[in-house]
Symmetry: C2
DNA sequence: TGAATAATTGTCTTTTTTACAATTATTTTT
DNA sequence: AAAAATAATTGTAAAAAAGACAATTATTCA
């Protein structure tokens, strides 16, 4: 069989922009790079794509290695490929972003990397083009979360409306009217009201809600805008 | 300096999903692959990323090689990386999609590839995972065009409302009410009505419109949905 | 002059969005 | 036990956007 003889081979990596919400602020999980170049500088968690591994599989592996978590929301963001982005050797990096409930994350699992959570407005200098990756991920998160119910991935299974609203407000750096917010959220039909209340954060207590998984999957791709029904679903 | 000694190097390519509109139908520009494996099978136009070239640059180069066109709308779609996607040797492909006015394209430029335009509902079998790339590009085009004024990239500088509507109808495989469509389009403030009419396609003639470039750039990123103003612009 | 053709335009109804504040449940304090 | 404090919950009216629906207009051709 022929081969693609004359072409350049190069390294391929993945990097993960890991968003987490601790109930207060949206944060980013960063590590201290464990090897040269730029050893001990802050960095996104990443890794090289292995011989028999897709980029998706590599990102899943890398994410699990750092957080210990499976089944996390993870999606490809963008491939970064400037020839000089890694000074040692040409490397293409496929960036992914992940959304996790940061309460599930246990630091102990990967102490090897000295991971830390940073609020989005206090992200330190990052190696290579990781700053740009983070910027793009933030932009994409806002874009996507305006149309799809993905921010729930950052919350525990049971959450209150005030908590949900504070998450949205943090993501979009704005405030919403409580009445309008709850009406809009409830009208999506995605939430199931629970009988129990969270009594930890207020005297009156706030009802818990859960996602209605059936409607969640069915409605995930829905959106309306210029085109009333872009996917022909309704 | 250290090197990333133990890692696998692999091939990196780009593939272009080229959409064109000829005034009637949205079409896809495909080529007949010029080398083994799968020689003479239908394929997306693609090429390997060169040593000193980013993926964006490679996609631009490849697109120009086939169409002769510069300054075309081109955006990264997704990186495809299944280990066995190319049977000869492991290759990651970064897919891009392009939007061109197919009247600008001249077949002669690249007769080497025997390129042909195919309506979207008559796309032949394609090599490797190119079918999947096309599916994803169609989906992404619909998604994005519902929120951003990118379909204009498929039209000549002057176009009529009936032509614009037929393009939207073709992209979304549906029909729109003429009155509501024009009201909505005009209300974006993106169009400048011209004094001349197109008299070729009807007795009455239809007024030409042009894009208002200033508003186009300013409003490109705007959209409204769940979040009234996700980018804090207004 | 009339018929044919396709572009252009208007209104009413329904739905969605927005702006805005009083009431309720519970705990803490007096 | 009553009152105060705190935060959650709920309603309504006005404005804007979307949707349904058909008559009129400009032009060419017979």
């Amino acid at each position: 069989m022929t081969k693609y003889q004359k072409q350049t081979r190069l390294l391929a990596a993945v990097d993960c922009i890991i968003f987490g919400f601790d109930g207060q602020k949206l944060k980013l999980l960063l590590i201290q790079r464990g090897f040269e170049p730029e050893k001990n500088k802050w960095s996104l968690m990443g890794g090289f794509i292995q011989t028999e591994e897709s980029a998706d599989a590599a990102a899943t592996r890398v994410l699990k290695k750092l957080t210990g978590l499976d089944g996390v929301y993870l999606q490809q963001l963008h491939a970064f490929s400037a020839p000089d982005r890694d000074p040692i050797e040409r490397t293409i990096s496929i960036a992914y972003f992940a959304l996790i409930d940061s309460n599930l994350y246990e630091k102990q699992i990967s102490d090897e990397y000295h991971p830390e959570w940073f609020p989005l407005d206090k992200v330190p200098d990052l190696i290579f083009d990781h700053k740009r990756m983070v910027e793009m991920a933030k932009e994409n998160l806002r874009y996507k979360a305006a149309l799809h119910p993905i921010l729930f991935e950052l919350l525990p299974p049971r959450f209150t409306l005030p908590l949900l609203q504070s998450l949205f407000e943090d993501v979009y750096e704005t405030t919403f009217d409580k009445r309008n917010f709850s009406r809009k959220i409830i009208s999506t039909g995605l939430l199931l009201k629970q009988k129990e209340k969270d009594k930890e954060n207020s005297k009156k207590g706030a009802f818990y809600y859960k996602l209605d998984k059936k409607h969640y999957k069915k409605n995930f791709h829905k959106f309306q805008h210029f085109i009333p029904n872009p996917n022909g679903i309704i």
